[in-house]
């Protein structure tokens, strides 16, 4: 189990009902973590519509998560 810190933006913040949280997860990758959180919080955006950053760098969905990582799922925004 890894402890990861999460931050939510825009639509995900609304759907999660929070800006940040820390979770214990068995997920090994951001992909698995998003699937887990999507079920828990009812996220409607498909993973393909999002980007993920781990420790302040955009990364791919299959990188290995480590204990203490900060994970940010970034939805696209278009308002002007």
């Amino acid at each position: 189990m890894a402890r990861v810190h999460l931050r939510y933006y825009a639509l995900l913040r609304e759907q999660a009902g929070r800006q940040a949280e820390t979770v214990e997860t068995a997920a090994q990758t951001p992909e698995a973590l998003y699937a887990e959180l999507a079920t828990r919080h009812g996220f409607r955006l498909a993973q393909s519509q999002l980007k993920v950053a781990v420790n302040a760098s955009f990364t791919d969905w299959t990188c290995a998560l480590a204990d203490g990582d900060e994970v940010v799922f970034i939805p696209p925004v278009a308002g002007g």
Binding site: Q49, A56, F58, V72, I74, G79, G80
Partner: protein, 496 residues
């Protein structure tokens, strides 16, 4: 008929305004300066005007021509009385005709201010107590002479100086979208003295824009944003050139427009345009400064494909569809949010043009104005893009699928056999119910979840407020294999 004249005869406004009749003029503004019965607390009984006519004639005509040029008015005339005038008589008359009232008002105001300031005209006041005295009219000018636009407060910055200021004056910046972000970007760049600013926006000012778009006033509602913003900024800083382009950025014109500038700034409110700006900038080798806002948050990215930097497609290879996440219309926005992000965009443009340190590059800045947090996320160039971007071949990729949308009155669409599905959320439906009958109401998220329940033998027409969400939903459903789904173009807003 001269544009400026002196006369010893009483002025007749009806005849003067009739002479300015012009079928192209939608606005006529006139100013009459009249003899007052008092000055400085003393009762005035009559006046006498005298002028250095040889000099004043040419200068008066120059004043009228300058005002026409500066405000884009059609024609103007100014006539000044000389000799003895009684209280209540008209001393000077100015009339201007223009396509719209704004140009007519502003040109008229400029002419009278300049006449009072620049022309060698004197008046002698005769007071009721028998005293009299000459007054040079320049002393009673309503407005002081317009001072030059003064850049001294930025010239003193050691990184700028006259060389930097000159570089800004020689630069051209293209701003795509003159909305919430655009107003902040445009004000910042116009104030800094960018030599030429091109404003691209095909939209008109809506009353709902005003709270976050301070370049417009309620009088501008219905006017094209590009023109209104250019007029406002030209009045703000007369030393720069503004070029309004009231067109929509499309795959057909994006590259042509982007190459007009040294930098392009994306202030649009939709993904199709953002990707178009990104793609055109990458293909044309121009830097692009992109921003978006969502409620209390924003994202900022500087695309330096001209310097082997990353672009939008490094992170988002596929253009995001509009409608999946909300825009300002649907999700709401507070004025300072686009103002902050737009100011950051203007700052990045200046940093780029002036070669200042700390430029955002290969990064995305996330700003959260509720918790006052910001994050710089590293966003490197995609691996496959070595020397050249491997992901963008042409700007056509961002164009929407044309046959996806249908522009028909809803009743007619229903008569043609389309099953109408209202995909708005329950609050929207309650607020403005669809007066059609026979339609279904399935909010967008539920529809996407229940795509498999659509009957493949029927044709469905999705309907929302502005046709953005319905188009995205139709695209997504088609991508999922439902070929029998269409979107109502322009949504209910266009149904009239």
């Amino acid at each position: 008929m001269n544009a400026f004249e002196f006369t010893h005869e009483p002025l007749e406004p009806a005849a003067l305004s009739a002479a300015l009749a012009d079928p192209a003029a939608g606005g006529f503004a006139a100013f009459e300066g009249r003899v007052r019965n008092q000055n400085d607390g003393r009762v005035v009984s009559r006046l006498e005007y005298e002028a250095f006519e040889e000099l004043a004639q040419g200068e008066g005509e120059r004043i009228v021509a300058e005002a026409l040029r500066r405000h884009g008015a059609l024609r103007a005339r100014c006539v000044h009385r000389l000799g003895a005038l009684a209280v209540g008589e008209i001393a000077v008359w100015v009339g201007v005709v223009a396509a719209h009232r704004a140009e007519a008002f502003s040109a008229c105001r400029q002419i009278i201010n300049e006449i009072k300031h620049r022309l060698p005209i004197w008046k002698k006041e005769y007071f009721a107590d028998g005293d009299s005295g000459w007054v040079n009219c320049t002393h009673c000018a309503e407005a002081a002479r317009v001072p030059d636009f003064d850049y001294s407060r930025q010239l003193v910055l050691p990184e700028i100086g006259t060389a930097g200021q000159q570089r800004l004056a020689q630069s051209t910046v293209i701003v795509i979208g003159a909305g919430g972000l655009g107003c902040a970007v445009l004000s910042g760049l116009a104030g800094a003295g960018i030599g030429t600013i091109v404003i691209v926006d095909d939209d008109v000012v809506d009353p709902a824009n005003l709270h976050r778009q301070p370049l417009y006033t309620p009088d501008d509602v219905g006017r094209q944003k590009a023109g209104a913003a250019a007029a406002r900024l030209a009045a703000y800083n007369p030393t720069i050139r503004l070029r309004p382009m009231p067109v929509r950025l499309t795959a057909a014109n994006a590259k042509e427009i982007v190459v007009l500038g040294d930098v392009v700034v994306d202030c649009s409110d939709n993904f199709a345009t953002k990707f178009l700006v990104n793609d055109a900038a990458v293909l044309s080798g121009r830097p692009a400064v992109l921003a978006s806002v969502y409620q209390y948050e924003g994202q900022l990215q500087v695309v330096r494909a001209d310097a082997r930097g990353s672009c939008l497609r490094c992170q988002w290879p596929e253009a995001t569809r509009d409608g999946l996440v909300g825009n300002c219309t649907e999700s709401g926005v507070l004025p300072p949010v686009p103002a902050v992000l737009g100011s950051l965009q203007a700052m990045e443009v200046l940093k780029l043009l002036l070669d200042l340190p700390g430029q955002l590059r290969d990064e995305v800045l996330l700003v959260d104005l509720l918790e006052l947090g910001q994050r710089r996320l590293s966003a490197p160039r995609a691996r496959e893009c070595n020397d050249r971007c491997a992901r963008i071949r042409s700007v056509d990729a961002a164009a929407p699928t044309p046959e996806l949308e249908i522009a028909l009155p809803l009743a007619e669409a229903a008569a043609q056999g389309y099953r109408i599905i209202d995909i708005r959320n329950p609050e929207e439906c309650a607020q403005s119910p669809l007066a059609l009958g026979g339609h279904e109401s399935i909010p967008l998220p539920r529809l996407l979840d229940a795509a498999s329940t659509l009957d493949p033998r029927l044709r469905y027409l999705l309907v929302c407020a502005h046709g953005i969400r319905s188009r995205a939903a139709a695209e997504q459903l088609r991508a999922g294999g439902s070929g029998n789904v269409w979107s109502l173009q322009g949504g209910l807003a266009r149904q009239g």
